[in-house]
């Protein structure tokens, strides 16, 4: 195994763990997500536990990992350098929230649910990719 193979394997494992987490937590069910967002209805707290568990684990893990001089398989840590708020960030987040609320899917669960092979989801994935391409064009 050369370094390229190790990098691919490490990344595959990360994607696998991520989707196992999404599945075990129920985030591959849009009803769970919309149930959380529907605070005026029969509220479903599950997403709060998912986000809480993920943020706390990542917070603790990052504190250790980011103290290391380099990652195991790369030259450096690549962290977003931008500081401060701008219209692009907030407009984008606002649009994303509307789409998330309409469908109950954010990008991770939408892609992870591909194996469920439903026509509406495939339609959503197609326009999601289109949206990414357009966002890059108007950058």
């Amino acid at each position: 195994m050369n370094k390229q193979h190790l990098t691919m394997a490490a990344s595959y494992v990360a994607g696998l763990l991520f989707s196992l987490g999404l599945t075990v937590s129920g985030m591959t069910d849009p009803a769970r997500v919309v149930g959380f967002l529907d605070v005026a209805g029969n509220w479903d707290p599950t997403l709060m536990f998912v986000l809480g568990g993920a943020v706390i684990t990542t917070f603790v893990g990052y504190r250790f990992v980011l103290k290391q001089p380099t990652p195991l398989l790369a030259k450096r840590f690549q962290l977003p350098g931008k500081q401060g708020l701008d219209a692009r960030l907030l407009t984008g987040a606002a649009l994303f929230g509307v789409g998330w609320g309409l469908s109950g899917y954010c990008p991770g669960p939408a892609i992870a649910s591909l194996g469920g092979a439903s026509v509406p989801l495939v339609a959503m994935l197609a326009t999601m990719v289109l949206g990414w391409v357009i966002a890059r064009r108007i950058a």
Binding site: M8, A10, Y12, V13, A14, G15, L16, L17, F18, S19, G21, L22, T23, V24, S25, T28, P30, R32, A40, G41, T46, V50, G52, G53, A54, V55, T58, G61, Y62, Q68, P71, L73, A74, P80, L85, R88, L89, T91, A94, L95, F96, G97, V98, G101, L102, C106, A112, G115, G116, P120, A123, M124, A126, T127, V129, L130, G131, W132, V133, A135
Partner: protein
């Protein structure tokens, strides 16, 4: 039932966190799905695509693996044996939602994972602002669809 769902949510959340920590420890990258997959598809950066593709394959294979095992470890509302829930809306609604999610996460440089998990864990002000914003518009959207218009998802 409620308790089981919450506990599964917590376990799944910790798994997502471990994934994020592992990706940072091994490749030095933020585990943001819209960034990893969006850049792979919309840009295909030379020499920077293979790891993104491997991550994407992993992302699709988790639920398939659990389906194959048939262990019933999913958390789909009202269907304990299922691991993938069905979409709540039809094709037209999903086409609109997909465009908003793609455009929004593209412009806003992140989604629930990049801003909501990794960004908050880094105590990033931009990610906190983004997370509060998308949670806010999502809450309003669901309220309007379910309680004002009374239909849709």
């Amino acid at each position: 039932m409620e308790l089981t769902s919450s506990l599964q949510g917590l376990i799944g959340g910790v798994l997502i966190g471990i994934s994020a920590v592992w990706l940072m420890a091994s490749l030095g990258r933020i585990a943001g799905i819209s960034g990893i997959v969006g850049n792979l598809i919309a840009q295909r950066p030379k020499g920077d695509s293979a790891w993104r593709a491997a991550f994407l394959v992993g992302l699709v294979s988790g639920p398939l693996l659990l389906m194959g095992l048939g262990a019933g470890w999913g958390n789909v509302v009202n269907y304990p044996g299922e691991v993938i829930g069905q979409p709540l809306g039809g094709v037209p609604l999903m086409l609109v939602a997909g465009l908003l999610v793609g455009l929004g996460t593209g412009l806003g440089s992140g989604c629930t994972s990049g801003h909501g998990v990794c960004g908050l864990a880094r105590l990033s002000k931009r990610s906190l602002a983004a997370t509060v914003t998308f949670l806010g518009t999502a809450l309003v959207t669901v309220y309007v669809v379910r309680h004002v218009l009374g239909g849709g998802a």
